[in-house]
Symmetry: C2
Amino acid sequence: MVSKNQIKLITGLQQKKYRKQHKLFIAEGIKVVQELLNSNFELQELYTTQTVFQGVTTAKIIPVTDAELKKISALTNPNSCLGVFKMPETKQVTEKGLIVALDDVRDPGNLGTIIRLCDWFGIENLVCSEQSVDLYNPKVVQATMGSIARVNVVYTDLENYITNTRLPVFGTFMDGENVYTQKLPQEGIIVMGNEANGISDAIAQKVTQKIAIPRFGKVQETESLNVATATAILLSEFCRNLNGR
Amino acid sequence: MVSKNQIKLITGLQQKKYRKQHKLFIAEGIKVVQELLNSNFELQELYTTQTVFQGVTTAKIIPVTDAELKKISALTNPNSCLGVFKMPETKQVTEKGLIVALDDVRDPGNLGTIIRLCDWFGIENLVCSEQSVDLYNPKVVQATMGSIARVNVVYTDLENYITNTRLPVFGTFMDGENVYTQKLPQEGIIVMGNEANGISDAIAQKVTQKIAIPRFGKVQETESLNVATATAILLSEFCRNLNGR
C-alpha cells in the first residue's frame, strides 16, 4: 500500500531540487536495484510487486500492486520494483590512471551510457562540469544498468579542475592528431564535450593534447559522432594496449 | 493549413503498417530534412513554420503554425519542419568491404546510432534481420541525424544471408578471441546481436570468427556493453589501420 504522501515524495524525486532536498534518488528494475544493493548504496525503501528480495530486511520492503507501482514509477513500462536510495556523500577524485571529464553533457542517456563504458574499461573516476545532467536523474540511473554503483562521479568547476591537474588533458577536435597513430599514456584526463557545441572555449584552452577520431566515410557531410559512441572509441583506444582481463 | 485527413495520414506514418501501405515516412528538423533533400530521397510534402527552404519547389511546401506542427509531429518538442518522403526501393547488398549485420536489434535509438556509425566509418551496407526495428520508424530516422541518406539498409532473412555469403562472419561472444590482438580483414560481415539476448543460436552457428571486446573493469558484474557502443568499438578496430581521411 502506498500513501498519497509517499507517491508525492517519490514522484518528486524525478526532479533534481527534490532529490537535493531529501538526499534521495530512485532506481528501478531488479537488475539496477540489485546492483545498488550489492554495493555501498543505502536503501531507504523498496517498493515491489514481488514477495522476496535478496539481501533486504523485510522492514524496508513495501509490497505494491502493478497499479501502485505505475503511480510512483518514472518509466513508461514500470518494472517489478522501485528502490528509494540515499544519496551517498561525494568522494574526491583520485588523480590516478585515466579519468573521463564531461564538459556539459546534457542527455541522461548519454551520461548513463558513458558511466557504463567507464565501468567496462575500468575507469574509476568521472568528473562532470556543474552544468552536466544530474547523476541521479532517473533516466541516467536506468541507463547505467547498475554501473552507477562502481564509478565515482564527481561534479565540480571543470575549468578549475582542469587548470590544476598535473595530468595531461586530452580533447577531441576536428583538427586534432589522429588518435590511432598517437602513443597514448596510461594516465590522463579525457574531456568529452556537449552534444551540440562540443568542448567549450574555456576548457579547450586547457587541453594539452588535441586528438581526433578520423572519419572514414567518403562524404564530408557526416555529422560528428554521438558523444557516447565517441567516448567508446576513445576509451577503447586508450585501453587496448593494457592487459585485458 | 493542415487538414484533418493530412493529420491522420501523417500521424499514421508513426506506425509501420501505414508506412508500408502508403510507402511514405516522416523526417523532422532542418538538419535531417536537409540531408534527405540533398540525397536521392524524394520529397512528397514539406510542412514548415519557416517561409523559405533551400532546394524545395514551393508547390511542395505547406506552411504551418507551431500548433499545427505539434499535431503532426512525432517529437515531444517539434522542430520547425516535418518532411513526408517516399520510401525508396530497397537496393541489394554489394558483397564488398565491411558489412554490419543486425540480429534483431529492437531499439530505434540503437539502430539510428549504428547507421550514424556506419556512415562515419564508411560502411556502405547494413543488413538487418526481419525482426529488427524498422528503418523508417521516426525515432530511427531522427537518431541517424541524416546518415540514413548515405547507408544502404536492407532487411532480409539474416540466417539465409549469412549462410550464403563468401565473406568471413565476425560476431562478439564472451569466449571470443581478444579483438585487439586479432588481424582483422578489410572485408567481412560484423554481426551485432539483440539488446537482451545477444546473437541468436542459429546465427551464432554461422559465425566463422568469434571475437570479444575485453573487459578492463575490476568487477566481474559489469554488464555487457550497449550494442551501439560495442559497434563503435568494433568498427573503430576494423578501420583503425585503414587510411583515414
